[in-house]
Symmetry: C2
Subunit: 503 residues, 2 copies
């Protein structure tokens, strides 16, 4: 097979070129989000456009397309890793090629301005200033659906499948119906119990940012984050970035009057980072490196943030350190008071500030909105009203304005539709993994040790090492013995919060 | 000329691709030098190699070469800016094409390892571990000279011309002979006077780094550095970077026991930054953006650092602020004591720590070394001995080891030969500019105002705005009415230091 060998060699060259552009894109975004000055961004966008074009010149070249097709046709003669990679690449390519180039260009032109139109509209609480752009964005999604439709997949399912292969409206509906049935009433009950809740005094004190950074650094050690291959920086919104297993970066944001925010952001982002770091090294310099899907990535960050990071054993071990760092503020606060505070449930307006229990209800609102936006002709003017009603139905809160309502998230302005549901899915994956982990490990010990190496090892063995080699459901079946099953999530939430709220 | 119009359009496209790669290269280096973790650098080097190759694929393509040649042949029909640019690009290209591709590849393979071989040798004070690499590096330089030789230019002149067009051994010899005649004896006299010098107590105190940063931020304002387009960060060695007039970045380094280091590094780097920022905006997205040569760039940073930043009027205005920031340390120190301290002359071993007066003598050592290394067959084993003798002859100091001797600088390990002399040239350019500036401005007022806007404006008008549109000598003639004349530098140094040392 000298012929195939040559094709593979050329594929590897082109792959390295594409990966080099992806690396560049990572670094430019990292710089833009963490330190580039506003005045430099306009010039930069011209270079970014040019680099994207150069990358497209490769991925849309006849040579590359022929090579991928050839390797796909000969996939049974490839080694396992390359076979999986080519299968993924081929599928993505087939999809991309169905979308006319002019449509892609128009789309990226819209993308170049839509986030800033959204940002201004949000700042001014002015939905009217965004609605035409939103309509255009959703029309793009509708056309993309048309290009990508197959006999099996239609409508919103196309977008859902884009973000999480195999997930459909039917499956999400089952999942969210279960949440409606079990979690919405639970939240109502808790609301009743919360009527006389008063924010504890320690939560309203000032926590010096330098001290918060000190504790975030401590958490890096607790999570075994190797700083020879990674770093933590600051940005407006915390995020995780990097490239390959040897360069993994997270950011954090510190609020002097909200010290728990930086703690849970750190754990969340370090959760993402742990996934990336624990990929098998053989996946570096391939398209199989990273998390298998957004939902699985989010499942890992939320596993660390909520299941571990808001657990009692975790704070049993680390609360003394927190008290030591914030002597003045926490001297009189017991572990139980602190634990109760970080697990306080309160239906709210803003998704990113939601607690573990109500978070999925925020996602349900967006899921229902997206169904309406891409599958119906409902006028864009009516969206805010629908949004507000969904918030009232699921969370029992009244939305006072669009800034805290339909304008709160950037995702749609980024053209992302079908992405939100994966956030809730991620939490549910985590609960299913926890159920299995409990059979293999002493959870109190794993969560309550000096560091989280036991948790890391378990997740590496079952999830992290594989990168994109296995699909989420494959990972779940191999790790837990069954397909995705949302019952575990409901069970986990009901047990935890019934106990906390003595229901 | 529809034909020419099409050629120009295509040239502009390819130029933008090349500039995009240059932008990427700037950003990768910035990240590597300021925050990337050691563990990430190996993977990164693979992408860097790949990106360089992609850029070479453009600049060495038949299409690009043909276009540049065509435009060069038609240069009289181009507008001024493009004519100048194409003339520069064509000259560079002709030079590059004389060097066989295999030689370039071998060179970059050597470059990939030589800096780390040098670093290890320096760390271990082990010249033997570096000497073979140094020999290889100098052999490359010797071969490059052969490739590039013309009827007019031969030998070391080729390398000198590479870094500063028009400069030759003959001209540098005149310059350095003058320094030998005038400055070497002056330094000797000062040495005599310094015999009983004792470092003042305030210079040995601790200066908290946060306070040093506060004063560096103050200096950004003094130098009118617009932080919407630039930033100051930390790195092991201070440097200036950026891309175009809208993204200019400097770094600084803070030593708790050497507070003046961060002050003069800040002024020096902000001097480079001021040059970049003040380029005419029309030069952005062309190859004419930036400083015209290394020497002219260095002349600007040294002008700000030494001529302005170590002047009496400057500190008359800003010393009270410095005292305010370092109340404890400087309360009893007078302006005159501080001024005297920052202008203290002491022949030393390390170039980067040299004072304004002796700095050029350090450069002379390297200049003489380079002549020997590229124009003779002197065995590499003898270099340290020669280095040490030159230090004794010019500076009167005994070199105790190679780490503080011939191994101190990274430049040769980077393959740079012919670069050092431009450092001294830069200082001399500055003095010639000062001589003219004094005719146009009230220097006491310009240096001693709240900010340096008068200085900035004068330099922008005569130097900065032009980017690479004019060669250094052209700039000097237009600004001062004459070609480069080292007498101004000698005059400036003798006047300043005779006064300080009451000679």
């Amino acid at each position: 097979m000298a012929f195939l060998k040559n094709v593979i060699a050329r594929y590897q060259e082109l792959r390295l070129d594409i990966l080099a552009f992806n690396f560049v894109s990572y670094l430019i975004n990292w710089d833009s989000d963490t330190e580039a000055k506003a005045g430099s961004l306009e010039d930069r966008s011209i270079f970014v456009g040019r680099l994207n074009e150069m990358e497209l010149r490769i991925t849309r070249s006849k040579e590359y397309i022929d090579i991928v097709n050839t390797l796909f046709d000969n996939r049974d003669n490839l080694d396992e890793l390359l076979r999986i990679e080519i299968t993924n690449v081929h599928k993505e390519m087939e999809k991309n090629l169905k979308i006319p180039e002019q449509e892609m260009i128009n789309h990226s032109m819209l993308m170049a301005k839509s986030p800033s139109i959204w940002a201004t509209a949000k700042l001014n609480n002015d939905y009217n200033a965004f609605k035409d752009t939103l309509k255009e964005l959703m029309n793009f999604n509708k056309r993309f659906i048309k290009y990508l439709e197959t006999d099996e997949l239609k409508g919103y399912d196309i977008l859902l499948d884009n973000f999480e292969e195999g997930m459909t409206k039917e499956k999400y509906d089952q999942f969210f119906d279960l949440l409606k049935k079990e979690i919405v009433p639970l939240v109502k009950k808790i609301n009743e119990k919360n009527k006389n809740y008063q924010t504890p005094k320690f939560a309203t004190l000032d926590y010096p940012i330098e001290k918060q950074k000190e504790f975030a650094a401590y958490l890096m050690d607790v999570m075994c984050f190797d700083q020879n291959y990674g770093l933590m920086k600051e940005s407006e919104h915390p995020f995780t970035s990097g490239f390959g297993t040897h360069d993994v970066r997270v950011t954090n944001h510190y609020y002097v009057d909200n010290f728990v925010s930086s703690i849970f952001s750190a754990i969340h982002e370090l959760g993402h980072a742990t996934y990336e770091r624990a990929n098998d090294e053989k996946l570096n310099f391939t398209f199989l490196q990273g998390g298998t899907t957004m939902a699985m990535h989010e499942s890992q960050s939320r596993f660390y943030e909520n299941i571990v990071g808001r657990s009692y054993p975790f704070w049993q071990r680390h609360y003394p350190k927190l008290q030591e760092v914030f002597k003045e503020q926490l001297i009189d606060v017991t572990l139980d008071e602190f634990y109760r505070f970080i697990n306080h449930v309160t239906p709210s307006l803003i998704r990113t500030e939601a607690d573990e229990l109500t978070y999925s209800l925020h996602i349900m609102v967006r899921y229902e909105m997206e169904k309406i936006m891409v599958e119906t002709d409902t006028p864009v003017e009516e969206y805010p009203k629908i949004w507000n009603k969904l918030y009232y139905d699921y969370l029992g809160v009244e939305v006072p304005n669009d800034r805290e309502g339909i304008l709160q998230d950037i995702h749609w302005a980024f053209g992302e539709c079908g992405y939100f549901p994966t956030y809730a899915l991620g939490s549910a994956y985590g609960a299913q993994l926890l159920n299995q982990m409990k059979k293999d490990l002493d959870i109190n010990q794993a969560f309550g040790s000096d560091n989280l190496s036991m948790v890391n090892e378990w997740l590496k063995k079952h999830i992290h090492q594989y990168g994109k080699m296995k699909k989420p459901n494959e990972l779940l079946i191999d790790a837990t013995g069954e397909s995705f099953n949302p019952e575990y999530f409901v069970k986990y939430l009901k047990e935890k919060y019934s106990k906390i709220y003595k229901l």
